[in-house]
Structure formats: structure tokens, C-alpha cells
């Protein structure tokens, strides 16, 4: 795993190829859009998706916590797919989550999918969090500076010599950054979509997630993503 160093509003950050941000100065690990219990949310309505998404997402989060040993973990909202999500956690997944939360400052930034987080999952819920030059919130604001957010599940697509490749990505213009979704069943929105591109300054960079490193592409190199 090779993390990519970037600077955001003067703060030096490390981007992890799994889709997380680490801010060494504060021992802070930020992840976005876990969408825990998305599978069971669909199952409730009769679409019986495999019930393994929460476990898969928490396993990924566990690997990140072991790698960076953060003092503080910030989940940038939509951590649960719906407000009933925490109540549907299976016993094993509940234990997995508790083990991660224990012994560190765990912050649930609330999102549109999870406006409330019950106290029994641990950690504390906040609307947003400002630390030095950076503000962590769920959905980007058009006037913000030094902002780290999620919500959009950014994806990008490039044309390589053999074929088009698309995948999850970070996107940043040096002033703000949108994180990719970490959740196992979460899809994505193309960064060239006005909803994302409109937030950024003209020149922005997408960091595509590779298996163990990131690949940076300037806006002009990106294609509209297929599916």
C-alpha cells in the first residue's frame, strides 16, 4: 500500500488507496459513505441481496484502523443506509463495530441517510467538525474552503491503451476534497457530472483507487464513465 500525499488548504494529508484520508498531525482517519446495512435495507422490501455487505465494509475499515492506528476516526455521513440500520446490525457485526470504536474518539458526522445515530453504537454524532484549516461534513457546500466531504460517491473513467477503465476516486482542487464511498454495495457518480465538477475549480484532479496505490489524473484526461 502506497499512500499519496496531498495538501488541502495548507493541511498535509495522506490518501489511502482503500479510499480513506489520514491526517497525521491529528492522528485522524476519515472515511465516507459506509452505508452499513444496505443489504438488509433492500431485504426489508423483498430484494434479498447477500447479507454480507456490513461485514465486508467493517473488515475494510478494520484494515484501515490497523494500518494507521488513528486516535480519531471521522465517518463522513451516510454511515448507515437508513435510520433503522443500527437496529438491524447482526450480533457479530455489532461486536466488530464496537471493537473498532473502543478506545478512540469516534465521530459520526450525520448524513442524509442517517440523520440520527443511536447512542448504543458508541462514538459521538455531530453535524460537522472543524479542525484547524479543515472542516469535515457530509455534503459539500458551494462556498466552503478547506472542506472534506463525502455524499457523492465519486467515480472517474480514463481511456488506457487497451481499454477504458473506471473506478472509485478521490477528487480535489486543492481547496476541497470529496472522498469515495467505502461501503461494499455503494455505486458511484461520475466526477464530470455537474453535481461534482460544479463544486470544483476548473483544474481538479481525480485519484483513481488501484489495488495498492492511487493513480492521479487531471480533469482533462477523464472520460464520462460508462455504467
Amino acid at each position: 500500500m502506497v499512500a499519496a500525499p496531498v495538501e488541502l488548504n495548507g493541511a498535509p494529508l495522506l490518501l489511502d488507496p482503500s479510499g480513506a484520508v489520514f491526517w497525521r498531525q491529528h492522528g485522524l482517519l476519515a472515511v465516507a459513505d459506509l452505508h452499513l446495512e444496505k443489504g438488509s435495507s433492500f431485504a426489508r422490501r423483498g430484494t434479498l441481496l447477500p447479507p454480507y455487505d456490513t461485514q465486508a465494509t467493517l473488515d475494510e475499515l478494520g484494515r484501515l484502523v490497523r494500518r494507521w492506528q488513528p486516535r480519531m476516526v471521522v465517518c463522513l455521513g451516510d454511515s448507515f443506509h437508513d435510520t433503522g440500520g443500527p437496529g438491524r446490525l447482526g450480533a457479530a457485526d455489532r461486536g466488530r463495530l464496537a471493537a473498532l470504536v473502543r478506545g478512540r474518539d469516534w465521530i459520526w458526522v450525520v448524513g442524509n441517510h442517517d440523520p440520527q445515530i443511536p447512542a448504543d453504537v458508541g462514538g459521538r454524532a455531530v453535524a460537522e467538525l472543524t479542525l484547524g484549516p479543515l472542516t469535515f461534513r457530509h455534503e459539500a457546500r458551494s462556498d466552503a474552503k478547506g472542506e472534506v466531504s463525502g455524499h457523492y460517491h465519486p467515480k472517474a473513467s480514463v481511456a488506457t491503451s487497451a481499454r477504458r477503465i473506471s473506478g472509485r476516486c478521490f477528487v480535489t482542487d486543492g481547496q476541497r476534497m470529496v472522498l469515495p464511498a467505502l461501503g461494499a454495495f455503494t455505486g458511484g457518480l461520475d466526477v464530470l457530472d455537474p453535481a461534482i465538477a460544479g463544486l470544483m475549480r476548473r483544474r481538479f484532479i481525480a485519484f483513481l483507487l488501484g489495488r495498492d496505490r492511487l493513480f492521479a489524473f487531471p480533469r482533462d484526461q477523464l472520460l464520462r464513465a460508462a455504467a
Partner: protein, 815 residues
């Protein structure tokens, strides 16, 4: 029943006899044979070439029975793979019914039938109903299915050869089993083109009923098939046969009406464009393929039927369906890929049985000449491609189980007995059936978390029932086994749609790009509201829309014939001189493999080392082999850079030479290597998506909302990844692997080839490229290397860095 049997037992009744006479016809022996079979209450399989009153033969016993004893209720159900065919047959049948004054009502029921009429048809069905496999499944899912089908006497399945062995066929077989339960004693009639395995087809149509009679419709005259080689040029590679178009045009000009069959929609567009470029006489030449708008296709078909066209360029979209007696020439551009398909295509010409069909094959390159000659030999010898019937899909079974529950609670034991009586599911283990039922019930996951969200629940008497009627509504919105790729409509300006292209192609276009579609040169403007907006006109380098799954691999049967031809120089005299010389040259420079050998050539070229294996197993199997070979070469430190797979060969290139290829081709590559590759492969993801949709895990349509195919695609990939990691043996993953083994990865065929090649690998290390390998190298660069995602990203990222470091392009020199 009794009076009907008596009516049929006396053969053709006088009124029918005089109807035939009045038209100047004599009943065909096979028509009488079907009346006899029906009189005995037997099912029947009629195998006959197109023409010759095959469809009428199917309906005659029902018409006779209804004439003798008018009855209320649905008497005969006709199932065809094409909606258009159902409509057409209804029209054709109306003629004898009117002229004989029979008290028989005939209606169609397809996805296009208005809802009010569909509801009325369930309450008061006509005597004869023309439908499709999907509409039958839908009818069977209603609680009143039993009332509707109780009095059914006969089921006629048309174009059976095109249904058996496919997922639509599986769905139909299961539906027929249900019908046999609802209407015991009903008989079946299968109508089929000539096939290699008539016994398997007879088992398919007769499964679960009484006896089946096989009836032959009399052979067609031997076809007059020739190969067209323009004297001036025979290309080494390529698939478009543009070089031959002047000769094709001359053939069209001298014939009455011609169908020009091609293998892919891209070929159809190019051939159509080239023919019009040459069309100084302004002949009426039309285009027909599956991506064109339906109205457009109907217009072409109508013009064809009315004799207003001189030629139509068509893909498999015209393989089935409406018979045009007036076609007197069939031209096949590109190799036919299979003997059976060629026979059926050739049969489209001249439906009068007293004259031979005339057909011309137009190979696009040298390997295709071999294939065309092999196909010609096969037609002459009357041999066909024989795929032994494959087992039915578990995804289709899951759909059927839910559909059954939608109609009424069911007992698993009884349903298993019913399912196991069909031909596709005859060997289905009970355990697999139970897994499918569990999947329908609650997802069937080992981690049993979904008990509270189950779809089926015990009814108390051992039967299972739906937990809520809304499940039936959703089932009915999603019935069927045809999973479409995501497509975008193509419009000129904001006008009527010309047809559809795949999203993938549309997203690769930038404004100003020109592309060839529906026979027109179009300039891409923008994508708006799931439609491509284009304007007419364009530049000189048009792109051709690419379509997934358009190509069908070379059949085993033709492959065997090509191998035999290579091994027997005496047979080369039948080949055109350039091909004969090419093979002679190969014999001098390298070697030609025996029929059971696997020839592997290795040679250096530039700074690269090439390996070419002449397997002749079809492009799907070769694609899989290419992936597995390059993985092994990677591990052996040979630094492979890529591979190419055609229908005939697989070729690889690497930085280091392969000294001994035998270990690379060891059969054990089908173990872990295959597993590992399959897990990552987009082929598997695509297959899983189809399986998940058919099985009902992912719905195409929700009440109140139509999911776009785009959402389905990304969901399915993510679900696949998670399910594979956490429950690799889930029933849907088993269904996916089974599908892939037969289809896109063709592992079954690859396995047979590796087993045959054991100890028979003929390695020829050469100092330079062999004549046989030349066409292969010309293909290089057309195939992408799957898998190396990160390597490709790295290469692109590095090239951008290099670009930045060398600065921008040189400024334009002054004019």
C-alpha cells in the same frame, strides 16, 4: 375427447380435402402424419425445412377437431420465439378458418397486447391463442391459470430448434410441465428445422406427456452453394469482406431478391454502406438488424414480403420468422461459423421445395476460406453441428418456482416431480432444487439473517405460499429470461428514434464524431435524456457501433472439419489457388498439424517473442486460454505483454522466449488459475448480472419506477464481489459458473481440447513468422488485455507525466 378422436381418426375430412383441392394443393404426407398422431393422442416432433406447410401441419388436427366438435375454452396454444411470428401466424390461420367457415376464434397475446384484452383473455380465452414463452409464464402466474388452461388440448411450439437449449427454452419447458399438470392429456407438437440431435429434441417436446412421434417433412432439394473469391485479391485478415462487395453487388443485380446475411450488426452497417456506394442502378437494398427501431424493421419486412426489395442486408434478426417465398438467393458474408446455421440461412432462399436453394458464401479472409469450404462440405454431406443438450439453468428455475407460488401455494415434492419430468431438468439433483427453493424463500444465504424478510412461508400443510401479494406483482413485472444490455436511443435532432446503440459505445463518442448507424452517416451531438442526439452527415472516418455478444464462435463440428482439411493436402485442390499456395508455403516453412495434434509455433519478431497455438476451438475458448496462458507465462518469468484470440488460434507475445510450451498447456490450468481469473473477470460479472436478474435477485422493474440498466450493472458487480468472498458456493454463483463454462468462457470446450492435446503438442521453434501465423499477427492490437487494470492505469499515468515533462506540443509553424 371421444368425438374428436373419431373425427381425426378418419384422416382429412371432406371439407378440408376440398379446401386443399380448391387451392390447387395436395396435403403433404407430414400433414397427414400429424393428424394421425393427434388421433392417437400422441405428441409429435415435425422436422422439416422452411416452407412445405409446416405451421399448417401443426394446426390442422386442432382445426379438424374443433370443426367436428365446437367447444368453449382454450383448445390450442401456439408458442413462438418471436412476437411478430405469432401475429403473422394468426393472420395466416385466419384464411382457412374463414374459408372453411369454422367456429374457431384466434387471438395473439404478447407483451404488446393491451391490458384490457389480456384480462379478458384470461376470463374468456379464444380457441387458439398465439403467444411467446414469456407471456405463457405470465399467464401461468395468475391464480386463475387452472381455469384458463383446464380444457387445453394441444400446445404447438414453433421454431423449437431455436428455443431448446436456451434459457427461454428452459422457461418454456417448465411452463409446459405446468400445463401438463393443469391439462392432463393435452398433447404437444414441436415444429423444428433440421437438427443434429432429433432424439433430444423429441424428448424435449414430449417430456412428461405420452408418446412422441418423430415426423420428417421430406428433405429439401440439395442446395446449390458456392464460394465467391474475387480473382484480384484475397485478404489475409479482417472480417468485413469489403474487397468482395463489387462481386456481391453483381450477384444481387442478376438475382430477383437476395438476402445478404452477415454475422454482426457492425458488419451489417459496413456491408450496407459499401453496397450503396456501388449502387449505380439504384437497386432497392435495405438493412435489417436487431438494434434498429422496431417500426423500421417492420417496414423492411413488409417491403420484402411485398416484393419491393432487391436485397436486404441482415443479421440473425432474419434467421427466424416470416417466410418469403420470393427469395431466390442467399449470400453469406463472412464465415458461417456453424453448419446448422448455414443450412437454415440457405433454406431462406426459394421456399418452393421443387427447386434447390441457391447460396453464395463470401469469406472475408484466408482462414474463413477454410471455414467456408468446411461448411460447404458439411452441407453436401448433410452433417450438422451437434451440441448435446445442456442442463437447464438454476436461475430460470428460481424464476419458475416464484411464478408457481404466485399462482397458488405449492408442495416442493410435487413441484420437484414436475420439474424433473422436463428434458432440461431431468438430471437435476433434489439438493440443487432445494437450494433454489431456499433462494426463492429467503435468499438462501448461509448467514441466515433474512428470516423476517422471507418471500415464501409455510402454508401449514407442507406447501409454501407467498407472504404478500405484492411479490406476485413484482414477479410479473420482471418475468422472462432476456436481459438487455443498457442501450440509448439514437435520434436525428429531436425526431423519431432510428434504433438503439449500447451505452458503452455512446459514451465513447465526443461531439463532432461521426458514426455509421441504420445505414446512415451521423454526427454525434450530445446525450440527452437517455438518448443520443445526432445530425446527418459526417466525416471520412466513421466509427461503427460495437455490440456485446454479437459474435458466435466457430462450432466444434466445423472446427473438426477444418482440422481434417489441413491434415489432408489432397483436399486442398478444392480450395482457391491463393489459399492452396498459402498452405503449401506453410508446409515448407513449418508444418501442418495432424487432425489430433496441437501445433504450437514460436518465433521472434522485433524485440518480442511470439507463440501461436492452432487450437480451432472458437473465440470464447481461445479468449479464456489466452488469459490463462499469459498468467502462467507471467509466473514463469517470460514477461508476457498480451495475447490475441480468434476463432482459429490464440497467440501471445512476450519479452522472453517460450522454450517448451507443453507445460504451459497442462490441463491443471483449469484448476486454481481458472478460479482466480474467473473471480476477477468481467465476463463472469456480466454473466452474474444476467443470472441475478433472471433469478429475481435484482429487479429490472419496480412498481412505479423503471430501473435503468445502468443501476443494475453496478449493483450486480458489487454484489458479485461480496457474495464471492463470503459465500462462494451460493446457488447463484453456481449458476453463473455453469453459464460461463458453456458460454462466454467456454471452459467445457477448452477442457476437451487440452485433454486431446495431452502428449500431442507439436512444437515448431521458427526463426521467423510462418505463413499460417501471418493473419494472426495482423489481428494483434485489436484485442484488449483484460486483468492488468493497474498496469494499464500506471502506463497511462506515466505517459501523462512524460508529456508534462517534455512540454506542450510544438507551436504551429506559420502558414
Amino acid at each position: 375427447m371421444e368425438p374428436l378422436m373419431r373425427a381425426l381418426g378418419t384422416g382429412l375430412p371432406p371439407a378440408f380435402q376440398s379446401w386443399f383441392t380448391g387451392r390447387g394443393w395436395t396435403p403433404h404426407p407430414h400433414q397427414l402424419a400429424l393428424i394421425e398422431a393427434a388421433a392417437a393422442g400422441d405428441s409429435a416432433l415435425l422436422i422439416a425445412p422452411t416452407g412445405g406447410g409446416k405451421t399448417l401441419a401443426g394446426f390442422l388436427p386442432s382445426l379438424i377437431a374443433l370443426a367436428a366438435a365446437p367447444a368453449d375454452g382454450l383448445h390450442t396454444l401456439y408458442v413462438s420465439p418471436l412476437k411478430a411470428l405469432a401475429v403473422d401466424i394468426q393472420r395466416n390461420l385466419q384464411a382457412p378458418i374463414d374459408e372453411l367457415g369454422l367456429p374457431v376464434t384466434v387471438e395473439t397475446r404478447t407483451g404488446d397486447t393491451p391490458a384490457a384484452r389480456r384480462a379478458r383473455q384470461r376470463r374468456r380465452p379464444p380457441h387458439m391463442l398465439m403467444t411467446t414463452p414469456e407471456s405463457l409464464a405470465l399467464m401461468l402466474s395468475y391464480p386463475d391459470a387452472e381455469a384458463m388452461f383446464r380444457r387445453l388440448s394441444a400446445v404447438i411450439v414453433d421454431e423449437l430448434h431455436a428455443l431448446a437449449g436456451t434459457k427461454r427454452g428452459d422457461l418454456l419447458a417448465l411452463g409446459l410441465a405446468r400445463l401438463a399438470r393443469l391439462a392432463p392429456g393435452s398433447r404437444r407438437v414441436g415444429l423444428s428445422a433440421t437438427v443434429a440431435h432429433p432424439d433430444a429434441l423429441a424428448r424435449w417436446i414430449g417430456a412428461g406427456t405420452g408418446r412422441v412421434r418423430q415426423v420428417g417433412g421430406g428433405g429439401a432439394m440439395a442446395a446449390d452453394v458456392s464460394i465467391l473469391i474475387p480473382p484480384d485479391r484475397l485478404p489475409w485478415a479482417g472480417h468485413m469482406a469489403v474487397h468482395a462487395m463489387p462481386a456481391v453487388y453483381r450477384a444481387i443485380a442478376t438475382a430477383g431478391t437476395t438476402i445478404v446475411f452477415v454475422n454482426t450488426r457492425a458488419q451489417a452497417e459496413i456491408v450496407f454502406q459499401e453496397l450503396w456506394r456501388l449502387n449505380d442502378d439504384n437497386l432497392a437494398i435495405a438493412l435489417h438488424h436487431g438494434s434498429l427501431a422496431v417500426e423500421q424493421r417492420r417496414r423492411v419486412e413488409a417491403a420484402m414480403a411485398a416484393g419491393r426489395l432487391r436485397a436486404v442486408v441482415a443479421t440473425s434478426s432474419l434467421d427466424l420468422g416470416i417466410d418469403w417465398a420470393a427469395v431466390d438467393l442467399v449470400i453469406q458474408v463472412g464465415a458461417p461459423k456453424g453448419a446448422s446455421r448455414l443450412v437454415q440461412r440457405v433454406g431462406r432462399s426459394n421456399h418452393r421445395l421443387d427447386r434447390p436453394s441457391r447460396a453464395i458464401l463470401v469469406p472475408a479472409n484466408r482462414f474463413e476460406v477454410l471455414e467456408c469450404q468446411a461448411a460447404l462440405d458439411a452441407v453436401a454431406a448433410g452433417t450438422l453441428d451437434g451440441q448435446p443438450p445442456r442442463p437447464g439453468g438454476l436461475d430460470v428455475l428460481a424464476q419458475h418456482v416464484l411464478g408457481t407460488a404466485c399462482a397458488a401455494p405449492f408442495h416442493p415434492d410435487a413441484l420437484f416431480a414436475e420439474v424433473a419430468a422436463t428434458q432440461p431438468y431431468a438430471d437435476l439433483p433434489r439438493a440443487a432444487f432445494d437450494d433454489v427453493v431456499r433462494f426463492v424463500e429467503n435468499g438462501g444465504y448461509a448467514l441466515g439473517g433474512y428470516e423476517q424478510w422471507r418471500r415464501l412461508e409455510p402454508a401449514g400443510d407442507g406447501r409454501l405460499q407467498l407472504v404478500h401479494p405484492s411479490i406476485a406483482r413484482r414477479y410479473r413485472m420482471n418475468v422472462g429470461t432476456i436481459v438487455e444490455a443498457t442501450t440509448l436511443k439514437v435520434r436525428v435532432g429531436r425526431g423519431r428514434a432510428l434504433g438503439e446503440v449500447e451505452e458503452y459505445f455512446a459514451l465513447g463518442l465526443t461531439p463532432g464524431d461521426t458514426f455509421l448507424f441504420a445505414g446512415q452517416m451521423l454526427r454525434f451531438e450530445r446525450i440527452r435524456e437517455m438518448a443520443v442526439e445526432a445530425s446527418r452527415g459526417g466525416g471520412d472516418q466513421p466509427k461503427i457501433p460495437a455490440y456485446a455478444g454479437g459474435r458466435m464462435p466457430l462450432t466444434t463440428h466445423l472446427a473438426d472439419r477444418v482440422r481434417a482439411m489441413l491434415a489432408c493436402p489432397a483436399s486442398w485442390d478444392a480450395l482457391p489457388a491463393p489459399v492452396h499456395e498459402w498452405l503449401d508455403l506453410q508446409r515448407g516453412r513449418s508444418v501442418l498439424p495432424g487432425p489430433d495434434d496441437l501445433l504450437v509455433e514460436t518465433f521472434p519478431r522485433g524485440r518480442l517473442h511470439y507463440l501461436v497455438a492452432y487450437c480451432f476451438e472458437g473465440r470464447n475458448a481461445h479468449q479464456t486460454l489466452g488469459m490463462l496462458l499469459t498468467r502462467r507465462m507471467e509466473r514463469a518469468g517470460l514477461k508476457p505483454l498480451g495475447f490475441v484470440a480468434t476463432d482459429y488460434v490464440v497467440g501471445t507475445w512476450s519479452l522472453e522466449p517460450v522454450a517448451d510450451p507443453a507445460p504451459l498447456f497442462d490441463e491443471d490450468m483449469l484448476g486454481d488459475d481458472l478460479e482466480e481469473w474467473m473471480a476477477e473477470s468481467t465476463l463472469l460479472k456480466r454473466t452474474f448480472r444476467n443470472v441475478a436478474v433472471i433469478a429475481g435477485l435484482i429487479e429490472r422493474r419496480h412498481p412505479g419506477q423503471e430501473k435503468t440498466g445502468r443501476q443494475v450493472t453496478f449493483n450486480a458487480d458489487l454484489i458479485y464481489d461480496v457474495l464471492r468472498r463470503h459465500e462462494p458456493d451460493h446457488v447463484l454463483l453456481r449458476a453463473t459458473r455453469a453459464d460461463a463454462a458453456e458460454g462466454l468462457t467456454d471452459v467445457r470446450r477448452l477442457g476437451q481440447m487440452l485433454a486431446r492435446a495431452r502428449g500431442r503438442i507439436l512444437h515448431r521453434p521458427l526463426v521467423r513468422i510462418s505463413p499460417l501465423a501471418v493473419p494472426v499477427l495482423l489481428e494483434i492490437g485489436r484485442e484488449g488485455v483484460e486483468g492488468a487494470r493497474d498496469a494499464l492505469l500506471e502506463e497511462l499515468a506515466a505517459s501523462l507525466v512524460a508529456e508534462m515533462e517534455t512540454g506542450p506540443d510544438h507551436p504551429h509553424p506559420p502558414d
